[in-house]
Amino acid sequence: MPEMKEGCVKPARGPILPASQAAAPATGTTTSQEVKRVLARVGKEAIDFEANAFVEGVGFKPVKLSDYKGKWIVLCFYPGDFTFV
């Protein structure tokens, strides 16, 4: 495995909202935080994101969901490492 040059703080971009969603104002709030609405729906386009990742044989790298566009993708969330999934 290649050497991993990586500090402990290296934020990934997180959700990458389409322009139409990102431009929508958060109604009734003055917060500057990103809108945290649920946007995932079956039959609709997936919301892209960039996340920090550990990849076997590669090491640490940021991964975008859209890196896998054109393939069948299974995206799996789970509560915590060292538990069952």
Binding site: C8, P11, A12, G14, P15, L17, E34, K36, R37, V38, L39, A40, R41, V42, G43, K44, E45, A46, I47, F49, A51, N52, A53, F54, V55, E56, F60, K61, V63, L65, S66, K69, G70, K71, W72, I73, V74, L75, C76, F77, Y78, P79, G80, D81, F82, F84, V85
Partner: protein, 125 residues
């Protein structure tokens, strides 16, 4: 993907997963720091600060085809995941549709006026 850091993912792979799967799991282990991605996907539990068991199938056009979410007590069934992926792949390739419980090789249905009221004839599981 979980709210664990990539460093914890590395330890889990090396200390445990590599002993259960030869060579370790081959796919990227993603970190959802702060649950931002889980919120967008509707699977972040704010009270617990973790992502629950959410699973999404995304097709080559980047369209979400299936989603499942469970509270954390019950683990998932990979056989059902694989069945769904194969069914969506079959539908995409043929334009046919798959009745409930369909397994690869079994009869599919061709949607249209001729099928109305005739499912009982076409499909006898």
């Amino acid at each position: 993907m979980s709210t664990d850091s990539r460093f914890v993912h590395k330890m889990w792979q090396e200390q445990e997963l590599s002993k259960m799967v030869k060579g370790g799991v081959p796919f990227p282990m993603l970190s959802d720091a702060g649950g931002q991605i889980g919120q967008i996907y509707g699977v972040y539990d704010e009270a617990a600060g973790v992502d629950i068991r959410g699973r999404f199938i995304i097709d080559p056009d980047f369209v979400i085809r299936a989603m499942e979410s469970l509270t954390p007590e019950v683990g998932r069934n990979p056989d059902e995941l694989i069945r769904q992926v194969k069914a969506f792949q079959h539908v995409r390739a043929t334009g046919e549709v798959t009745p409930s419980g369909w397994q690869p090789g079994q009869v599919t249905l061709k949607p249209g006026p001729a099928l109305v009221g005739k499912v009982w004839e076409a499909w006898k599981p």
